[in-house]
């Protein structure tokens, strides 16, 4: 998926971009409104992450402009303000959602997913591995044509494993990615979700292999 | 020289009567140490009922009633104001001058008519007209006069019948006579013509109403002018021949007045007596008031009451008096 990150703080932009890339997406970074406008005019984005306080103006004016051109790309505002009235006016101006800095990347992901799911016009990317079809945005898993509805954490775990198939994830890494930092979860909690996924994928060409002492890996029978 | 003569004439009655009183009576508690001394020109007979009623109401009070002529009364009182408590006189002018000169003490009588009091010091308590009194027997067939003019005509027409038979006050002697004469003269010239006519008829001159009425009753007089009607009425009942005529053109009426001496030895009793007098007067004849009470208005007698007014002092002026008496004498006396 392709993100446009509009953020004037270079350090923060780098950190967010790195984190998004880590998840396997592509990111363009604009530090100013005029840059952002240029990017939007020449590229198509699945999602725009917009900071409000920008050196050449208020992010809200970009938002207004953006909506005026009938561009349907959803926008999530990243704001450093927390005043209630701001939140309301942002939504009134056409932002799809907002997030107060600093934020949990997992929450950003969750909100992005919710926004994308709501945005009917967006093309859903579907991952296909043999008889397994996975729409990470819609959260729908098809195994041999049968539709299986996944819970959020199952979905995220599967997405993680599928986008980096063949790669080994330690339990630790998985906990980091699936749970909030304020949840006090033991690494064993991962085993529950692995077990659930294995049950969903039973009999398919895809399986989750346990590498003792190292972690898990998604394998695919050709 | 002339002034001296006038002075002697003026003071003559006073000098004459200085020693004794016309009448002198005491009422009430004779044991009382200090009687209320009333100096009066009114006959005791008229005042006795009033005083009797007073002493009856005020036990322990004695009243000494002293009677003299109006002019003498004035002189005596001016001489010794501290010797008397109440002064009663028919000579309104003299009384008013006493009050004006500060001899009277004030007394509040708000219910008493305003025209009958002056300066809260002098109080009128009767209305008594001056009258023409005739002896009908001596007039015989002659018509009784209704007015001064009638009188002049009847006198002129019958000098033989009236010579020596007409009488009036000697204004030189009588304060009241002087008052009546001056008021008459003020009102009409008829007065002087009447005086001249009477002078030609050898008029007899009197000091007091009482004597004039006596002479009328006995037939020594056929007609008397300016007699006090009240006295005449009183006598007319006993002497049937007397007729009292109020001149129809302008009856002159005087008020008998009373004042309290400012130097009164017994001011409180004096005030009580004056209140009693006024109160009795207000009741009129029904309440046993022996004198004609105040007329309710001037119209009641068909003429004018002499009003209590500082102008009453006009004819008391030395020069005015001198000139008036001169003229009067010219009219009535020097006809001899």
């Amino acid at each position: 998926m392709k993100y446009l990150l509009v953020e004037d703080n270079v350090d923060l932009a780098d950190a967010i971009a790195a984190r998004i890339k880590f998840d396997g997406h592509t990111v363009d970074h604009a530090a100013r409104i005029d840059e952002a406008v240029a990017f939007v005019q020449t590229n198509e984005y699945d999602l725009i992450l917009l900071d409000i306080m920008l050196p050449d103006g208020d992010g809200r004016s970009f938002l207004r402009q953006h909506r005026a051109t009938a561009n349907t790309t959803p926008v999530i505002v990243l704001t450093a303000r927390s005043q209630v009235s701001d939140r309301i006016s942002l939504l009134d101006l056409g932002a799809d959602d907002y997030l107060t800095k600093p934020f949990d990347h997992a929450e950003l992901q969750a909100r992005c997913r919710a926004v994308l799911r709501r945005n009917a016009g967006a093309a859903h990317s579907t991952l296909r591995l043999g008889d397994v079809e996975f729409d990470s945005v819609g959260g729908v898993l098809k195994v041999g044509g049968a539709v299986i509805t996944l819970r959020n954490r199952e979905l995220r775990l599967l997405e993680l494993l599928m986008t980096a198939r063949g790669q080994v994830f330690s339990k630790q890494k998985l906990v980091d990615r699936l749970f909030s930092y304020d949840d006090d979860v033991s690494e064993n909690a991962i085993e529950v979700y692995i077990a659930r996924l294995r049950k969903h994928l039973e009999g398919s060409a895809v399986q989750i292999t346990t590498l003792r002492g190292l972690g898990y890996r998604l394998d695919h029978d050709r | 020289m002339r002034y001296l003569a006038v002075l002697i004439v003026a003071l003559w009655p006073a000098l004459l009567a200085a020693a004794e009183w016309e009448d002198h009576q005491t009422f009430g508690d004779t044991e009382a140490s200090a009687p209320l001394r009333i100096l009066s020109s009114t006959d005791t007979s008229f005042f006795a009922p009033i005083i009797a009623a007073f002493v009856a109401r005020q036990p322990g009070v004695a009243v000494e009633y002293l009677v003299t002529g109006t002019a003498d009364l004035d002189a005596r009182f001016r001489d010794a104001p501290a010797a008397y408590d109440v002064v009663i006189s028919s000579a309104m002018d003299l009384q008013l001058k006493l009050a004006n000169d500060g001899f009277a003490a004030p007394l509040d009588m708000p219910e008493h008519p305003d025209r009958a009091q002056w300066h809260k010091r002098l109080f009128g308590f009767t209305t008594e007209p001056a009258a023409i009194v005739v002896n009908k027997e001596l007039f015989a067939d002659l018509p009784l006069p209704r007015s001064r003019q009638d009188l002049i005509e009847v006198l002129r027409a019958n000098p033989e019948r009236f010579t020596g038979k007409v009488g009036t006050y000697d204004v030189r002697d009588s304060g009241l006579g002087y008052l009546f004469a001056t008021q008459d003269a003020r009102s009409s010239e008829t007065f002087w013509r009447l005086m001249e006519v009477m002078g030609r008829l050898d008029a007899r001159l009197y000091c007091c109403s009482g004597e004039m009425i006596d002479d009328l009753a006995t037939g020594r007089l056929a007609v008397a002018y300016n007699v006090l009607g009240s006295y005449a009425e009183a006598r007319a009942t006993e002497a049937g021949a007397l007729t009292v005529i109020l001149p129809s053109e302008f009856p002159t009426a005087m008020m008998r007045t009373a004042l309290i001496s400012r130097a009164a030895p017994q001011p409180e009793v004096a005030k009580a007596f004056l209140r009693h007098l006024i109160q009795m007067q207000a009741g009129g004849g029904d309440a046993g008031f022996p004198l004609p009470p105040l007329a309710t208005s001037n119209d009641a007698t068909g003429g004018t009451s002499i009003s209590l007014d500082p102008a009453l002092m006009t004819y008391l002026d030395r020069m005015k008096r001198q000139m008036f008496i001169q003229e009067w004498e010219n009219a009535i006396v020097q006809q001899d």
């Binding site: 350090d11 990347h105 929450e107 909100r111 997913r113 980091d176 909030s180 | 500082p310 030395r318 020069m319």
Partner: protein, 456 residues
């Protein structure tokens, strides 16, 4: 929020006092002036009568046989009659010799200046007014000067004066009473202008710092002008401080966000348990501080707004539906089923922003403390007096010992372990609920979950 005002005196009272005092002084001056004037007029009246009397006496003076005679008319003294029966004295002198009248009156003396003369003198212990005039008669033996003086006591005059004084005093009192009424009316009218301005300023909303536009009397112009200037400055300062606050939040939150993002990214690459532990602690500290900052700001806003609610008619179920939709991604992260049960309309007259803030805090708390894969139910229903909102979770519930003190500022639930939350959330809810005259009840469900009930 009324600040203490140092009050000294009252404009209305001061104005009333000045006007009333002025009226009193005027009334006294009026009284004295009219009385003096009346005394003069009355004295002139008496003088002219005295003069007429003197003239009428003097007119009759003749020289007959070298002797001065005055046959003055009755009217000369009659005209001196008064309602108070004033005493009358006269004296007629030929040269310096008393011809007749009262010798107790002062002799004419030699002075011939300005006849007729009027003077007030004493006669027998009583004040009298005396007029004197003279005339020279020429006869065969020479000339004689006849002087006539007429004097009169002043009882009627003083009676008249007293009557006039009484009337003028009454008039003065009436004038004073009327003036006082007018003064009070004027003072009331003046202060009404001030009160009207006060009311128009007091009635404004908390955000309304526009200048006063309504017309005011010119005297109040400067006050209103400086008030407008002050409000302008205040508006400016407020805007600036709001901007400053936003700027400050931005300046703090942006680096925090940077640090957090880096920490998260780093965590993905680090395996050493000690390093990982440190990064965890770092992230948690960042989250706690930013949440605390948000809630402190929210709390300040709620406290400020609670004094002057901006009320409107709200459909609570709609407001809750928006909130629940917005919170659902957060719930999903823990696989929590967040549901809204709305039974019929629930209309409330209240402040939308405050209510939204309070309800968001409640749901936020429930999501924070509920375990994964449980249910959080928000319900709204109309019940008798007003709407009732309940938020129920399947978490550990409130500590029974703390249930009464939880809504107090900065207290954090004991059982929540290190779940991030400053405890300010419930304090904010409590403040909003109080401002709306509602009640908040904390309880635990039969299954042990927390249940917060707002009864409006």
């Amino acid at each position: 929020m009324t600040a203490e005002v140092h009050v000294h005196g009252s404009l209305r009272r001061r104005l009333g006092l000045i006007l009333t005092g002025g009226a009193a002084v005027l009334a006294v001056i009026l009284y004295l002036a009219v009385r003096t004037f009346a005394a003069q007029i009355a004295q002139q009246g008496q003088d002219s009568i005295l003069n007429a009397s003197v003239t009428s006496i003097l007119d009759t003076a003749v020289l007959r046989d070298g002797e001065v005679l005055l046959d003055f008319p009755y009217a000369s003294l009659s005209m001196l009659g008064t309602s108070a029966d004033d005493r009358v004295f006269y004296a007629i002198h030929a040269d310096d010799r008393l011809l007749s009248g009262y010798d107790s009156l002062p002799a004419p003396g030699a002075s011939q200046d300005s006849l007729p003369r009027f003077r007030t003198t004493d006669h027998g212990g009583e004040p009298v007014r005396m007029a004197t005039d003279a005339r020279t008669l020429i006869g065969a033996q020479g000339q004689t000067t006849v002087t006539v003086s007429v004097a009169q006591t002043q009882d009627a005059l003083s009676e008249t004066l007293n009557a006039i004084s009484r009337r003028v005093a009454l008039f003065g009192i009436g004038f004073f009473a009327l003036s006082t009424a007018l003064a009070l009316w004027a003072a009331a009218t003046t202060s009404r202008q001030l009160r009207r301005l006060t009311t128009s300023v007091t009635r404004r909303g908390p955000q309304d710092l526009r200048p006063v536009a309504q017309p005011v009397p010119s005297e109040m112009g400067p006050l209103v002008a400086s008030l407008n200037t002050l409000m302008g400055r205040l508006d400016h300062a407020l805007t600036r401080s709001e901007e400053f606050l936003a700027e400050a939040a931005h300046r703090v939150r942006t680096p925090l966000a940077t640090v957090r993002a880096y920490a998260e990214t780093t965590l993905q690459r680090v395996d050493n348990p000690d390093n990982r532990k440190a990064l965890h602690a770092m992230i948690r500290a960042i989250d706690e501080s930013s949440r605390a900052a948000s809630q402190l700001l929210d709390h300040a806003m709620v406290t400020f707004r609670a004094d002057t609610l901006t009320r409107e008619d709200l459909e609570l179920s709609e407001l809750l539906r928006d909130l629940v939709d917005r919170m659902r991604p957060v719930a999903d992260m823990k696989d929590i089923t967040l549901s809204l049960r709305a039974e019929g309309p629930a209309v409330l007259h209240g402040d939308a922003i405050l209510l939204q803030n309070a309800l968001r805090n409640l749901i936020d708390n429930a999501l924070k403390y509920a375990p994964a894969e449980t249910r959080v139910e928000v319900a709204v229903r109309s019940e008798g007096a007003g709407p009732v909102v309940t938020v129920i979770d399947e978490g550990p519930g409130f500590d029974a010992a703390e249930i009464d003190t939880l809504a107090t500022r900065f207290v954090r639930g004991k059982a929540m372990g290190h779940t991030i939350g400053s405890g300010l959330g419930l304090t904010i809810v409590q403040a909003v609920v109080l401002a709306h005259g509602a009640t908040m009840t904390l309880s635990n469900t039969a299954e042990g979950g927390a249940c917060v009930t707002l009864q409006f």
